[in-house]
């Protein structure tokens, strides 16, 4: 077993680390905010002190959208998206090969989200949300952002896997 050789370039790692921390922070924030509009919505029915805002329902939904998308972005970095495992337990090399195969499909998926997510965002560009009248593209933008972030995260994972394959290949040669 060779020691893990540096796979992805250090620059990519640093960018991804910073990105992951930022996403984790925003994720925590969006889950925390989620509680506020719903609590306001309940309380407003019982006390005149809190006005019955009509945007609470919409704000809660948009927080949920962002929480889901941020969580899904982070899961690629952390490798926690669910997989159904049918292979027998694999060696390090086998793991790396599977990572490369499965990873290329994740890249394809990320590209779909980036490319058509961009179209999806453009489709919302002059539109405003129904209740809070927020610009709708801000919400739709989560899709191309997710695509771009996945490309970066998955690229790092695949470069690492490639390095494992290369290192063992040299070891055998």
């Amino acid at each position: 077993m060779p020691t893990t050789s540096p796979g992805a370039p250090a620059m990519l790692r640093r960018v991804n680390d910073a990105l992951a921390s930022l996403i984790a922070f925003l994720l925590i924030l969006s889950v925390a905010i989620l509680i506020i509009p719903v609590t306001l919505q309940i309380l407003s029915r019982y006390t005149p002190l809190i006005p019955a805002y009509i945007w609470t329902e919409e704000l809660a939904r948009f927080c949920l959208v962002y929480a889901v998308m941020l969580g899904a972005m982070l899961a690629v970095r952390e490798g926690t998206h669910f997989v159904v495992d049918v292979f027998p337990r694999l060696s390090t090399v086998g793991e790396a090969r599977v990572e490369l195969i499965a990873g290329s499909f994740v890249l394809l998926f990320a590209f779909v989200f980036l490319w058509w997510g961009w179209e999806f965002t453009e489709f919302a560009i002059y539109r405003i949300s129904e209740l809070a009248e927020l610009p709708l593209w801000i919400i739709h933008a989560a899709w191309p952002i997710a695509g771009a972030v996945w490309l970066l995260f998955e690229a790092e994972r695949m470069l690492n896997a490639l390095a494992v394959l290369r290192a063992t290949g040299e070891g055998r040669a």
Partner: protein
């Protein structure tokens, strides 16, 4: 190129006036076009909800025609919900006159420009009333009651103006919210009351007649522009007539549904005595709203119409 196929969508099943109107549209297009053409109507919300049908038509994808409440067009055009705003019409005759004179053309043009969806006919005609689990006959009794209204700002503003406390709750949570007294009532036309079985939890229907619905039959402009000219003409003609059919069907269905439910002892119509006073309270709110969305001219013409 093979036979042209058009895909429609409805949230409802075969018995609902919307679905019936869409089926009539299909028949009429076939009749006027005279050449082979296929229709696929996706019923029972299988392709999602009206709001999504509209987005698909705007994208020129998946759904080619559907009946959509103007409230769902608001993200494209702020003026769209005005078409269906509460307290706009004095009665069904007034409503008919407004539609006959095509007074909403400026709004329809804006929607077509921004969303690329054409309204080829105006159906609807459901009279909306408020259902409660207790008898409410006048304005004083309405005071402070929590009622679920549609998620467009004009609805909560007008309902606040008449002293109610409007609440925004997801459409599919209304039934349970009333049952559990989270809210006192909701508002809808007869077909909606029957479809969602609101009468089970709120059998007292206060006949406020605060709104008469307009439900445009919409076609995706992207679809339409790719069709042969004779088919486009057939669709436009069929759209008008199917919508006229929709209006008669809904007006008939409206009272028939209420009568059937009342006979079965499931619902009681409660006379509401303060409708004129209610409209008077709302008028200034409507005027402000019309000014905000540049629809003052339309509102004035509607109000001036004596029918």
């Amino acid at each position: 190129q093979g036979t042209i196929t058009l895909n429609g969508a409805s949230q409802f099943g075969d018995e609902h006036p919307y679905t019936k109107a869409l089926v009539r549209f299909e028949e009429l297009v076939k009749q006027y076009y005279g050449k082979p053409i296929n229709f696929v109507l996706h019923k029972n919300s299988s392709l999602g909800l009206e709001k999504q049908y509209f987005e698909y038509m705007a994208q020129g994808r998946a759904v080619d025609y559907a009946i959509v409440s103007p409230a769902h067009m608001s993200t494209f055009s702020k003026a769209a919900p005005f078409v269906d705003a509460p307290f706009l019409f004095r009665d069904v005759a007034h409503w008919n006159a407004v539609l006959d004179q095509d007074m909403f053309k400026p709004v329809a043009d804006e929607v077509e420009k921004r969303a690329r969806v054409a309204m080829i006919g105006y159906g609807g005609g459901g009279v909306r009333n408020i259902f409660f689990n207790k008898r409410v006959t006048n304005l004083a009794a309405l005071k402070g009651l929590k009622v679920r209204v549609q998620g467009a700002p004009i609805w909560s503003r007008t309902f606040s103006a008449i002293g109610m406390s409007p609440t925004v709750i997801a459409y599919n949570e209304i039934y349970n919210a009333i049952q559990n007294n989270v809210i006192d009532g909701g508002e809808n036309e007869a077909a909606g009351v029957e479809q969602m079985r609101f009468y089970e939890v709120a059998p007292q229907l206060s006949m406020t007649q605060h709104a008469i619905t307009i439900r445009p039959l919409c076609v995706s402009v992207q679809t339409l522009s790719k069709l042969p000219n004779d088919l486009q003409a057939a669709i436009r003609r069929a759209g008008k007539e199917a919508s006229a059919f929709h209006r008669t069907a809904e007006a008939g269905a409206d009272s028939q549904i209420l009568e059937t439910l009342e006979k079965a002892g499931r619902l009681h119509r409660v006379e509401f005595t303060d409708r004129a006073e209610m409209k008077r309270l709302v008028d200034p709110v409507m005027a402000t709203y019309a000014r905000e969305i540049d629809a003052e001219g339309i509102l004035n013409r509607i109000n001036a119409l004596t029918a």
